[in-house]
Amino acid sequence: MIRGAFLLAGFGLAASAALWAAGYLQDPHAIDLSTRLAAPSAAHPLGTDHLGRDLATRLVWGAAPSLSVVAIVLAGGLGLGLLAGGLIALAPPPLGGGVEWLAKTTLAVPTLVTALVLSAIFGASILTVSTALLVTSWAPYALTIAVLFDRIRGEVYWQASEALGATLPSAVRRHMLPNAWPALGGLAGADAGRAVILVASLGFIGLSADTGQPEWGAMIHEYRMFLFTEPRLVLAPILACTLVTVLLHAILDRGSN
């Protein structure tokens, strides 16, 4: 999964560089009313929308909110999960049991409802969406890691490393995490996909982080009246969403099969 994350980062960098070179990181708000609803052409590979804005450029910019939420959620979920999983497995019973109860209860909390409530209270932002996802996604990591901790503590190499005087963090890094990657990668792949979809869903119902910025869900909402006349305007962001979800899943979830 570490390799997957690096691969993802490298892929993102290369993609942005290529897009910049090809001129897609221009102003996504550039309005040109003389080319309204233009069909795909060399100048506009995906055509333009009802205000003459280039659809491809807006699609590229629309990736930013989704991908930043994915990064926050993966890093936060993994960190929180590791901490809570360690507590469940290693802390004395009242604390460990309490954290375990909390994790099992959290499994049933609906993400969209949490996101709605948090955006009502604190306003819609990338941080609100990430928090809603974090609140509901740390529990599976924690429970998986706790089970792994329990299993690994019976292994001879773990006891040997304890006998050799290895500190807990270094033992975790060296013996625990490599064993955990396949299971965690599967969870991370699913979480990354959920993050992309949730950002788009909130954008669609009008709760995107910044209504001025292009965002896939908000674009689908904005273009929905062209569904019948210019379906490409709606289908392009939908496909972008699906493609990114499947890609993230494929890259992060490599270890599990």
């Binding site: 209860t105 499994l107 049933a108 909390v109 609906p110 993400t111 969209l112 409802v113 709605l116 409530v117 955006s119 009502a120 209270i121 604190f122 699913a190 996909g193 959920r194 979809i197 788009a200 869903s201 669609f204 119902i205 009008g206 709760l207 869900g217 689908i220 929905r224 569904l227 019948f228 379906p231 709606v234 289908l235 939908i238 969403c241 699906t242 979800t245 499947v246 899943h249």
Partner: protein, 307 residues
Amino acid sequence: MTAATAQLLGRLALSWLAVVAAAFVLVRLMPSDPVEVFLAHVNVRSGPEIVAAYRAQWGLDEPLAAQFLHWLGGFVTFDWGVSFETGRPVAADFAARLPYSAAIGFGGMVLAVTGGFALGFFAAHRPGGLADALSRGLAVAGQALPAFAAGLVLLWVLGVQLRWIDVFGGGSVERVLLPTLLVAFFSLGPMSRLTRAGFAEVKRSPYYRTALAKGRSQAGALWHHGRAAGVLTLVAGLAPELAWIIGGTAVAEIVFGVPGVSERVVQAVNHRDYAILQPYIALVALWVALVLQGARILRRTLDPRLP
């Protein structure tokens, strides 16, 4: 039995109270003062004495614990307060909208469970076959496609390409049927995968092989000896799915313009109508707690070995 029931009810009430109290504190943590928001909303010229009067009227000058008890008493007696935006009682508003949400949610779940169980059975019966591929495809699509996008595409295909339905002027059939199908579509894949896993386990067991050796057909043996295991796995996975259904109906209601509960809540969030939020959270928490406990009881009845 009665002692167990009482203990169960006690646990249910306790977890519901914990969630509702946490939500109560969270809503009070919001950065803006509800009185200011309300006064700005109704466009009344604000002054310190007006603000103080409203604070007293809404009980916001009491200590937090007293406010909570006051609110709890009101909630239990269906006095859920008044919406800032419309000025109508929240309880009546929800009661009028609940049938739509319930119809979509339950209808979708019933479709998903029956369809998913059948699909899972045939997928396990012939791994790698048509049913298996279909169930896998549905599971992947459910994860990779946003629900609202699938709804829009459904509208486009049925309403524009095939002209089977009247998209926006439709009657109750269009209003309830399409969202129900959408909810079912997103739960069908996971349900069928779960059922398939339950049946697949049976296929590896010695009693299944014995049944085959005695001359039963593969499908007959799998159905006769495996359906209990299939149902049990399905019920285990059903509880979280039922808890999550609220999010699913929310999206379906918005895409198809159904006047359901979630649609109202999204409006409320957009207009910062806080009066709607607290009863909504309480209802969702009640639903989730009921579903989880109900599934636990059902699994214990089906399989007495479970703790």
